[in-house]
Symmetry: C2
Subunit: 253 residues, 2 copies
């Protein structure tokens, strides 16, 4: 008995922090949090980069207090690493953590697929197809647009489930994937094959939950193998320098 897909209550931007009613001033802590979040996801702040409180506060025009608050939240989401008395860095997931993220993401998105199968409204269906057409167009020019659109497709699907928590988790996993691909990804691999998106939509519309889930599973699996690469760099100065030390006959403790 297919319920109709539930519309999601107005986009609360993220999390349970309610936006103030219209006209009310937005808490600046929230603004700082969002700014940093975007900067990290868009890789303006690269993985591993040091995040000094006062420098960032100054740049954003707020005090350290708010920056710290933002750090705390970002740490919960895994975008920032907090080390006691040593400040914050943009997270630098290990290859192992990367695999964990992808595995969880697969599980979550399979849930999305199952949830959506047979419940897409015509409007939603149309929206997805329009999106895929955009992807196709962007794919030809092979810019960074292509990558962004690929990601948005998955977010769109999660939104359509009407399950706010599921959406949050998918977004979170997706954010972390951005970090991961920035570290371990091939330079210009388009993450998603557009044709796979098309097939998926088809299965969803046909109401074939099992097939949709399998397609999603396979799709994300292939993203990993297409995009993931052997590690390019190391996070810790020690690890970076170890080979140099050895080649010069030095002995790191």
């Amino acid at each position: 008995m297919p319920r109709p897909a539930r519309p999601l209550a107005a986009s609360k931007s993220n999390s349970n922090v309610r936006m103030p009613e219209k006209g009310a001033p937005v808490p600046r802590a929230q603004a700082v949090y969002k700014a940093l979040r975007r900067a990290i996801i868009e890789q303006a702040l690269k993985p591993g980069v040091k995040l000094p409180e006062d420098a960032i506060g100054e740049q954003l025009g707020v005090s350290r207090t708010l920056v710290r608050e933002a750090f705390g939240r970002l740490a919960v989401e895994g975008l920032v690493e907090l080390k006691p008395n040593r400040g914050a860095n943009v997270a630098y997931p290990t290859l192992e953590e990367a695999r964990d993220v992808f595995e969880v993401r697969r599980g979550l998105e399979r849930l999305v697929a199952e949830n959506l199968a047979g419940r897409l409204t015509p409007a939603q269906s149309a929206e997805l197809e329009a999106h895929v057409r955009l992807e196709e167009k962007a794919h030809e020019q092979d810019g960074p647009e292509s990558i962004r659109l690929s990601g948005e497709f998955h977010i769109k699907l999660a939104e359509m489930t009407g399950n706010a928590l599921l959406l949050r988790y998918v977004q979170e996993a997706s954010s972390r994937c951005s970090l991961i691909l920035a570290i371990y990804g091939r330079p210009h691999s388009s993450e998603c094959a557009v044709s796979e998106h098309r097939q998926l939509i088809e299965a969803l519309r046909a109401g074939d939950a099992a097939r949709a889930a399998a397609l999603m599973d396979h799709h994300l699996q292939s993203v990993v193998t297409r995009a993931l690469l052997a590690p390019r760099g190391e996070r810790d100065i020690r690890d970076v320098l170890a080979p140099y030390a050895l080649s010069e006959g030095l002995t790191p403790s």
Copy 2:
């Protein structure tokens, strides 16, 4: 007149913050966060309860700064609701949010089951069975122990996957389930049927991933129907009093 401090969180001394081993200076912000988290999960702080920064800081022996920081993080995890200029409350999930949480949890734990199928070491297998025996024993006396143990079984499984993110999400979902059951749950339903746990272990050991996943799915499904109930109480004074008002012929706006 200062509001009387209510029995808030346990004193910091019994919060299992890393103890002064090796002179590790654990930020007290972390301690506050954990204390509040536990207090909420253990329902010392009930859903919907107001969380004034001052009172809590005083009770915990820290300033409002640290309390605010903790609130921010708890809000990301969905345990606290933050309303701009109006402070924080313990989250009070709606019935719809509750369903969302359970759905996501099912998806996550299915992943756990699939991941673990055929991979349990003998030691892990034994540990799980020992745990189930504990559950059985507790079940006879039907205390609150029973509920705690049921939850821990699921956490243990998630731990065994070795996937840190998966563990975190399962824990988070689990925390929120505590809130949900505090609101909508039957008074003394033992959440999990012990026999279902046994079957699950069996399937995992046999390496039957599909069966394990299906069992987990079914298991959690039945938890919902066993434990979930129509709403018992309302969070807002207005809603609590509405029926009284009506019965007295008063007309709340």
